[in-house]
Structure formats: structure tokens, C-alpha cells
């Protein structure tokens, strides 16, 4: 199980965490990975200054912009899930 956590605190919300979540949900469904990727949210990861929404994949930190979600998904999440 790959554990993906998206920050849904105020700063990340303004940087597009909703779009990131929606995109991830779309991609997870599209690749039928619902039983291998667990998506969750958390209020603030304490890295509000980063250029992008805070996301962790199995504990590893990434700052992701909504338009770059696809990269995180193919480069990191897909590889782990396979």
C-alpha cells in the first residue's frame, strides 16, 4: 500500500491542494490503483513556504503544483505501486 498524504491547510489550499487531490483521485481511478494507493489529508505539514502543495508519499516529501501532479504520479506513485 502506497500512502499519499496531501496537505489541506490554508497555505496549501491557496496553492491548489483541492486541484491536487482531485487530480490524484482521477489518476488513481484511471489506473485502477484504488486498492494499492491510500490517499489522505492532513492539516499543515509545517512547510508553508515551499513553492507548491505539500505532499508526502510513504513519508517522502514533495512540493507539487497542480499542473505537475501527473509527474509525481508517474515518476513516484506508479513506480511504488507496481
Amino acid at each position: 500500500m502506497v500512502k499519499v498524504t496531501v496537505c489541506i491547510g490554508s497555505s496549501c489550499h491557496l496553492k491548489g491542494s483541492r486541484q491536487v487531490v482531485e487530480e490524484l483521485q482521477y489518476l488513481i481511478n484511471k489506473h485502477d490503483l484504488g486498492d494499492r494507493v491510500e490517499l489522505s489529508g492532513t492539516f499543515c505539514m509545517g512547510r508553508c513556504g515551499e513553492d507548491g502543495v505539500s505532499v508526502t508519499v510513504d513519508g517522502d516529501y514533495y512540493a507539487v503544483k497542480p499542473e505537475n501532479v501527473i509527474d509525481l504520479f508517474t515518476d513516484v506513485i506508479m513506480k511504488k505501486a507496481e
Partner: protein, 494 residues
């Protein structure tokens, strides 16, 4: 900052007095020397030997000592969060309606005509007199007198208490009937002598912050009520948020996101059950349970917005502690209820937040701004009367519930709530949703607000329009992430 400028942050000097007690208690708690210094606090706040408020400085200090006690949590054996300081109560007159010497002895005798109890008679000079054995204090005579010669000599506390929980004890001091009191705090704000005060939990909050060891042991979350937009107007909202973080909180979340969640669920619940009352206002809910128990089954099953968001925070971001910061004294009662206790760890008011800032010498006007944006316009306008009504209408629309004929009644203040509930209990209410707010104007009229004013509603609406998310569905789009990382709260209860 000088004394006068600080005082202007509050509506009344009474609030300012209690604020000083809170600030000094908080200072002691941060420094860890409260127990050594607690007996000196009255002398620190009231120095010298010339009285400025009461008959002598010794009485002033004795009352201040009581304020300090309340700032430290008050009488733990009394379950009510609202308490009377007996020695501060000035034993105001209690005569009820009286004819003053402004009575001109006119010929019209409107007062007599309007009195349904025949309680008014006239002496040989045509001056009116009220027979206290007959008078029921309806006040009609005072309304019709062309000279405003009839006045009510009811105590401000009794006057403010529309649920009639305040009476006089054997010493003529105000006394609160806990079986009727809903902890709304109206008397706290109205007593001109500051003799009724809400207990404070600031010591618990400071203790939680200290024990979090800079948010390493657990994270401290502040949930702020949307009415905050009408408060701290001397600074920017983003600075208020930074100030909360400077106090040692890890993150600040809008209670309004909880309101979005509540509106969404409440709309579906309403369409399913056919009749509901809102459950957001703890004083309103308490009032139904105490005065209209037969209607309690119609109270929405939703937790309040604050408890809803707190539950969500505990489910997504544990280990953590959640402190609600708002305008509401009744919230201090609500969070102790078994269904809310697992989610909200403590409650403080905006007044107390100001005291906490100053106890740490945090001048929020000088701080940079932090973001606060979780909710939609509709979640944010819960802070004012009519907000829930609008949000539920919107949530019905967003869920495409079109086969339900929404007929809301918006009750602004506990008297309006009473009228609607009475009608409902008699089966003559032409509505299927009661929005109940115990405070007039809604939460922005709450007793724990620093200031109360005409502009506050506009401030809340303006704040609502600033929200990035425009619809309820968008704001709660993240809600299905609530799959808990850690089993629901309470796991690290001490």
C-alpha cells in the same frame, strides 16, 4: 501601548477589567510562577490607595481577587461556566415598572387603557400608580406613555436573560438557576458592574501549549470561528492568525469549513426527515432540551461546525489537541459534553485571545500575515443570523434536491427562537427548518466578542466573499480524505 488605546479594543471598561485579570494570570502561567504571585495580582492591577470604582481599594482588590479566580477556572464544583461574583453585584433595584415624577397627570390615561390587568389607578392629581399585586410587568404602559414617564427598574442581568434564569438570592445578589441557564453569556456582557463572568480555561490552554514542547509531542490546532472577521479590527486577519501561531499553535483552521460540512449534511438530513432545527448554536440546543424537550428529537443530528471540523482534524492530523477560539461562552459548556469532548480539548473567547497575546507581549499589528482559507462563502456567513438558512438553501441546490419545498424560519436571538418553538409545539409553525441563534445578530453578537457593532455583519459578508472556494461542494471536496490515519480522537487523553 498606552492604557487608553488598549481599552479601546473593548466595548466596556468591565471587559477591560476582566481582561487585565486574564492577562496577569496568563503571564504567571507562562513564567511558571503563577502560584507564587497569584495573591499579588489584585495589587498589581489596582495599585495605590485611592479607589476609582468602588467604595475603597480593599473592596476593589477583593473583587479583583474573585476575577483572578474566574480567570483560573472558577469554582470547579459549579457545573455552569457562567458565575456570579457576589461581592461585585451592586444589588441593583428590582422594582419592575414604576411611574416616575415625569408623570404629568394627563387626561388621556393611555396607560390605564392599555393595561389588561387593571393595575393602574390615579390619585387626586391624576398621577398614575401601579398596583404591584396586579402588574405582570408586560411593559405596555411604558410604551404608550407620551411622556415616557413609566420606566422599568429591572436589573440589567435579569433583563438580558430571556430564558429567565436569573433571580435574586437572600443577599439580594444575582443568582443563576443552572436548570434554566443556557450559558449564552448575555448577562456577562450586560452587567454594568462586571459581576457575572464566564469561567476561563486559559490555564488549560497554556498548559497544553507548554506540554506540546513546540508541537513535537502533539500538534496544537486552533479552530477559529468566522466571527473573528469582525474582531481585532485594529489589525489584519492574517496578523491575528500569525499571532495565534506565535502563541505556540501549530496551525489555524477555519471553523467555517466545519460549517460547510454541516450545511451539506444538514440539507440532506432535512430533505429526508422533513423537519429540523439547526444544531450549530449550543445555547439554542440547550434551550430546546431544557424548555421544549418534546422537540429535541427534531434537533439536527450534526455536531456543531466547530466540533465537526475538530473531529476531522483529529481524524486526519493526530496526535493533536484542538482549541476552539470564538465569540461564545456557551461553547465552553458544549465542549464538555460527552459527544464533543473527544474532539475539542478546550475553548477560549476572543477576549481571552487578546489577553493571551498581551501576556506574551505579542503586538499583532507588527506581524506579517498568515493565510487563513479553508472554507467557502457559505461556511463563513454562519457567523451571522441568516447564514445557516442561506447555506442550507445552497446545499440543497448543490445536491440537486429539488423535490423538497424548503421553508426556513430564521430566529435572530433567543426570544425569536422561543416564538418559533412555541408555534412548532402547538402545531402552527409554517416552516420546516428553524435556524436558531441565541445571540441577537448571531455569533457576531456573542458575549465573548471584544466589540459589538453595526458594521460587524458587513465585515462577515465581506470576509465570506474573500473565500477562494465559491461553493460548499468545492470547499468540502477534500472531505472524502477523512479516512482516518489514526483511529478517531481521544487516543491520547490524559
Amino acid at each position: 501601548m498606552d492604557d487608553i488605546k488598549k481599552r479601546r479594543k473593548f466595548d466596556t471598561k468591565v471587559q477591560y477589567l476582566q481582561y487585565k485579570a486574564l492577562r496577569e494570570v496568563a503571564r504567571g502561567a507562562w513564567n511558571g510562577d503563577l502560584l507564587d504571585k497569584v495573591l499579588d495580582i489584585p495589587n498589581v492591577i489596582i495599585p495605590g490607595n485611592l479607589p476609582t470604582m468602588r467604595c475603597c481599594v480593599y473592596k476593589e482588590r477583593a473583587i479583583m481577587a474573585e476575577r483572578v479566580k474566574l480567570a483560573m477556572g472558577g469554582d470547579r464544583t459549579n457545573p455552569n461556566v457562567i458565575e456570579v461574583i457576589d461581592i461585585a453585584c451592586d444589588d441593583c433595584p428590582t422594582g419592575g415598572y414604576e411611574v416616575t415624577n415625569a408623570c404629568r397627570g394627563c387626561l388621556a390615561h393611555r396607560c390605564e387603557d392599555v393595561c389588561r390587568k387593571n393595575a393602574i389607578s390615579f390619585d387626586h392629581q391624576q398621577k398614575a400608580h401601579i398596583d404591584k399585586n396586579l402588574c405582570v410587568e408586560c411593559g405596555q404602559c411604558a410604551k404608550v406613555c407620551p411622556y415616557s414617564a413609566i420606566v422599568s427598574r429591572r436589573r440589567p442581568c435579569e433583563n438580558s436573560c430571556k430564558v429567565k434564569a436569573i433571580s435574586m438570592n437572600e443577599n439580594k445578589a444575582a443568582s443563576i438557576n443552572n436548570d434554566k441557564c443556557t450559558s449564552c453569556g448575555a448577562c456577562v456582557y450586560q452587567c454594568p458592574f462586571g459581576a457575572i463572568i464566564d469561567k476561563s480555561f486559559i490555564l488549560d490552554v497554556i498548559d497544553m501549549i507548554k506540554k506540546s514542547e513546540n508541537n513535537t509531542k502533539y500538534k496544537m490546532y486552533a479552530v477559529v470561528a468566522p466571527s473573528i472577521s469582525s474582531q481585532f479590527t485594529y489589525a489584519k486577519l492574517g496578523q491575528v492568525v500569525t499571532g495565534i501561531l506565535k502563541l505556540g499553535f501549530f496551525n489555524v483552521v477555519e471553523a467555517a469549513l466545519g460549517a460547510d460540512m454541516v450545511a451539506y449534511k444538514e440539507a440532506a438530513e432535512l430533505a429526508e426527515k422533513g423537519f429540523l432545527t439547526s444544531s450549530c448554536c449550543p445555547a439554542f440546543v440547550d434551550y430546546i432540551r431544557k424548555q421544549f424537550p418534546e422537540l429535541a428529537e427534531h434537533i439536527s443530528a450534526n455536531l456543531s461546525p466547530a466540533a465537526t471540523i475538530a473531529k476531522y482534524i483529529k481524524e486526519t492530523s493526530s496526535p493533536c489537541k484542538v482549541v476552539f477560539i470564538g465569540p461564545c461562552t456557551a461553547k465552553k459548556m458544549e465542549f464538555q459534553k460527552p459527544e464533543v469532548r473527544p474532539y475539542i480539548d478546550s475553548v477560549i473567547t476572543f477576549e481571552e485571545l487578546q489577553a493571551l497575546y498581551d501576556s506574551r507581549d505579542i503586538d499583532i499589528e507588527t506581524l506579517e500575515e498568515s493565510a487563513l482559507d479553508n472554507a467557502s462563502y457559505f461556511g463563513r456567513i454562519f457567523a451571522r443570523s441568516g447564514g445557516i438558512t442561506d447555506a442550507v438553501r445552497q446545499a440543497l441546490k448543490e445536491q440537486n434536491i429539488t423535490n423538497f419545498d424548503y421553508k426556513p424560519v430564521t430566529c435572530d436571538g433567543i426570544e425569536a427562537c422561543r416564538t418559533a418553538l412555541l408555534k412548532k409545539s402547538k402545531g402552527v409553525l409554517d416552516a420546516n427548518f428553524i435556524e436558531g441563534m441565541a445571540c441577537v445578530d448571531g455569533c457576531i453578537g456573542g458575549a465573548g466578542c471584544l466589540t459589538h457593532g453595526e458594521k460587524n455583519k458587513r465585515e462577515v459578508d465581506a470576509y465570506g466573499r474573500l473565500a477562494m472556494e465559491k461553493s460548499i461542494s468545492d470547499a468540502i471536496g477534500i472531505y472524502n480524505l477523512a479516512r482516518a490515519e489514526v483511529p478517531a480522537a481521544n487516543e491520547e487523553e490524559d
